[in-house]
């Protein structure tokens, strides 16, 4: 029973560290204890922190023997430092989130985040001395492991305000008019549309001469030729939706629109 409990800690810690690394990689703004550092060190620290968490997560799962011991001890040390940092952060800036899961950790550091950090510290300390790796334990997993993991995951979930925040963001995503999108992503969306295929033969170049944004729409102008005429082929692509609406028009380069169309 005790061995099973210790082995489940490895999986739990690996999952938590991976999630934390991913959240920090997605939102690289300095959060939590990073704000205790000078401004120029915050971003590098956040990147380093994410990388360290990812490496420790991988090490917990694949390494055994002396190397595994080093990784497990390092994980315990990481959570011990994190606990001290959170206590300092709470004293210095009581309004600030812990940054444990990047931008999702918006709730000010309180008893929940401190208890969770202490729980992870205890879990990491309990794994020190285990003979095998996380994968090896996973291969020999029993229903008892599953039950223990479920109970502990439920406790961690209860201590994690980030779940509510993630759910809130999923239910109410950033409105399309405010959502930043990359040019590459919008070009891929455009090139997958029927409007693009229909007017592709008019284009002189497949690289847009100009792109601009208009709230929920991303627009691109391509130089084109229609017989002897120089034309602008212009597309408007909706920013949101899995099957975005695309509108197109062919405009005389000097005068105005001559042909417009769209897909729903």
């Amino acid at each position: 029973m005790i061995d099973a409990l210790r082995e489940t800690q490895v999986w739990l810690l690996a999952a938590v560290l991976l999630l934390g690394a991913a959240a920090k990689a997605v939102d690289r703004t300095a959060q939590g204890p990073a704000v205790l550092l000078p401004v120029r060190l915050r971003q590098p620290f956040t990147r380093l922190h994410a990388a360290l968490e990812a490496v420790l997560a991988a090490g917990l799962m694949v390494l055994s023997g002396a190397a595994g011991e080093v990784v497990r001890a390092a994980t315990a040390a990481l959570f011990a430092v994190a606990l001290v940092a959170l206590l300092r952060l709470r004293r210095r800036d009581p309004e600030l989130g812990c940054g444990c899961f990047g931008g999702l950790s918006t709730e000010p550091v309180g008893w929940r985040s401190l208890t969770r950090c202490a729980l992870f510290l205890g879990a990491a300390a309990a794994t020190v001395g285990l003979p095998g790796s996380g994968w090896a334990a996973l291969a020999d997993a029993t229903p008892r492991h599953g039950a223990l993991l479920a109970v502990e995951a439920a406790v961690v979930a209860a201590l994690s305000p980030e779940i509510r925040e993630a759910w809130r963001r999923l239910r109410s995503p950033v409105p399309c008019a405010l959502r930043e999108v990359s040019r590459g992503r919008m070009l891929r969306r455009l090139r997958a549309s029927g409007e693009w295929r229909e007017r592709r033969h008019l284009l002189v170049s497949t690289e847009p001469a100009d792109t601009w944004r208009h709230a929920c729409w991303w627009l691109a102008r391509f130089p084109g030729r229609d017989g002897e005429r120089s034309v602008d082929v212009v597309f408007a692509v909706e920013v949101s939706g899995r099957r975005p609406e695309v509108r197109a028009l062919v405009a005389d380069a000097a005068v105005g629109a001559v042909d417009a169309g769209g897909t729903g």
Partner: protein, 323 residues
């Protein structure tokens, strides 16, 4: 990245209107006839002469005409050679209602301090401005800008003095933290085609000859939520504004209503409002509770909408992006 904004912007507006409908990109309004700017050539208690980009012009001064040059002044205190902005009586465009002389503003992040002289970064697409806080204005400035230190925001109205600006009137209350320590703003989940907030102003010809430069009366606005991937460019230093503004590009047109005077105009986006994006302040005018700067109007547009430039701001509602 703001290359050829006029021609490019016109094309973009025309094409946007053709694709998304005329309401999405309405035709912008022209500079109203009652807003005039130029270099003062002569002034008497009854007449005022001006060298403007369109040629020399003369205007009628009445006992009701008021004058501003760092504070309320009389006609005798103005000097030829000063850059003046006139608001005339609508419908009687030869009669001057108010005159602002050498009006200037400094908005941005303090980058260097040397005694009473500040160097202020006004955004990635504008030259940095040197501001001097004279001793007689320092008390008033310090009340609302307690930290005249590198990294803190600064916003003040004053008068142009050579290449520098004499900062005389604070235009906002400075946040108590440097820009880089600004707390992360919670993600916006609401979307509205109409956003109410603070509209400030900037001078597109600050330091240039207004007798020759037609941009002195340019009607437009610098937008704090300019699309980062396009026009804002790789050097973009704008923050995410605290008002839920839709992303737009240069050339887009928005309808802006001054909530204090209920005057409205359709204005094109002509520049990036990177400096304005850092401010999350309220405008005391009209007692509005809405916070966040929604636009940085050109000086002419601000005056045309009935704003008092020496107050620094007005509460406004911006309507944009509605197809």
């Amino acid at each position: 990245m703001a290359a050829e904004p006029a021609a490019n912007g016109h094309d973009r507006r025309r094409l946007t209107a053709a694709l998304l409908g005329p309401d999405a990109a309405p035709e912008p309004d022209r500079t109203p006839a009652h807003v005039v700017r130029g270099t003062l050539t002569d002034i008497s208690p009854h007449m005022l002469g001006l060298a403007a980009p369109g040629g020399d012009r003369r205007f009628i001064v009445t006992p009701q005409t008021t004058f501003w040059h760092g504070g309320e002044r009389t006609a005798r205190e103005l000097r030829p050679g000063q850059d003046v902005l006139l608001r005339c009586v609508p419908g009687a465009e030869l009669v001057v209602e108010r005159v602002w002389a050498d009006l200037a503003r400094v908005t941005g992040v303090i980058t260097a301090v040397d005694g009473d002289t500040l160097r202020v970064a006004a955004g990635h697409d504008r030259a940095p401005v040197t501001a001097v806080v004279p001793y007689r204005a320092s008390g008033r400035i310090r009340v609302r800008h307690p930290r005249l230190e590198e990294g803190y925001l600064f916003d003040a109205v004053g008068v142009r003095d050579g290449d520098a600006v004499r900062a005389l009137v604070p235009a906002t209350t400075q946040p108590p933290y440097p820009v880089v320590e600004t707390p992360p703003r919670p993600p916006t989940v609401r979307q509205a085609a109409r956003v109410t907030g603070t509209a400030s102003w900037y001078d597109p010809v600050l330091g240039r000859d207004t007798a020759a430069d037609a941009r002195g009366t340019l009607m437009g606005l610098a937008y704090p939520a300019l699309d980062r991937t396009g026009d804002c460019g790789p050097a973009c230093d704008r923050a995410t504004p605290c008002a839920p503004l839709p992303l737009l590009s240069l050339g887009a047109t928005v309808r802006l209503t001054n909530e204090c005077t209920r005057t409205a105009a359709v204005l094109p986006v002509v520049a990036c409002g990177a400096a304005a994006s850092h401010f999350c302040d309220r405008c005391a005018a009209c007692g509005s509770q809405a916070s966040g700067r929604i636009a940085e109007l050109t000086l002419a547009a601000f005056v045309a909408l009935g704003g008092q430039p020496e107050a620094g701001c007005c509460t406004a509602t911006l309507t944009a992006g509605e197809p």
